[in-house]
Symmetry: C2
Subunit: 184 residues, 2 copies
């Protein structure tokens, strides 16, 4: 759902959790045009990590403890997205990344669009790692008296909760309602 | 469960997901002594983000979409942990951070300890953010025909899965067994 974005500012590295969207070629990040970290990322090298933790891995030795996870790390030089068409498309992609809300929400205003900065990171230098299943213990430990295995995590969407100030008679959009009970 | 750690290497910023442990004063990160990112962090400024995503927030306007989350961002100069006592204690804290496994696992060997590097980040410069509940929409949108609300995520531990090569008759340690069904 979120990316952790690392940028180098004048006062050192910063890592921030951010929403994102993407095409095959670009990862898009958006934020307030007043966001100092986002502004300092533009034109500079950034690193973006997206990590899903699937469970805990317990080895016979704690040194073989680990996590089961799926993760991607992307490195590249971010560019500010200045063309009107790409800017709007990037905002749509970020908005629709987790669940499509762009077309069922109130259409954006010019002010909202102008106040939202978008940067793009090229999807060229990337590494993906997936770890699943059992720990990998030392051969000499396998007959020992210590437990080993893994503990999965299950993350599911619960039922949508209407805002307290929502007028009666407005239905949950199907894309949002259909999340209920699905794996995140 | 995990931290995203940002360090500045000679080839730019890197963000990596890592296990961690902590005291009131120090956050500990460990890894192979051959880990280039960890080595380059020692003595330099780092940024550590820990983020728990609790759900999706859907505004009337997609520009008011957000996440419900709990997050901490820590900045500081990392130091290599060289004292034997602190090194061992840090390894115990990292190992026990999610669930206590240090005392029920096979005791560490000298080689395991030597091959594992620990760095400490001072818990001095930190910010914590918590977002819960409804979107915050524009006043003029409140009477509109658009749905607004939030969709919670529920993450729970499932039952522990024994390793395929675990001999019969070794019980799951109580600390691990008791995770089953608990919120992550």
């Amino acid at each position: 759902m979120i990316a952790h974005v690392g940028v180098v500012t004048d006062s050192g590295p910063i890592v921030l959790p951010m929403a994102y969207g993407r095409t095959d070629d670009w990862l898009y990040l958006h934020g307030s045009a007043a966001n100092a970290a986002l502004r300092s990322a533009s034109g500079r090298d950034v690193c973006v990590a997206v990590t899903i933790v699937d469970g805990l891995v317990v080895g016979r030795s704690p040194f073989h403890n680990s996590m089961n996870y799926r993760g991607v790390v992307i490195r590249g030089t971010a560019r500010s997205v200045d063309s009107r068409d790409e800017h709007l498309e990037a905002l749509r992609l970020v908005s629709n990344h987790v669940v499509a809300t762009w077309d069922t929400g109130r259409p954006p205003t010019e002010l909202e669009i102008r106040k939202t900065m978008v940067i793009a990171v090229p999807l060229i230098e990337m590494s993906a790692k997936i770890r699943t299943g059992d720990p990998i213990d030392e051969a000499e430990d396998l007959d020992g008296p210590y437990w080993a295995g893994h503990v999965p995590i299950r993350s599911v969407w619960e039922a949508a909760v209407p805002a307290g100030d929502l007028p009666d008679g407005i239905d949950v959009p199907p894309a949002i309602e259909s999340l209920d009970g699905r794996a995140v």
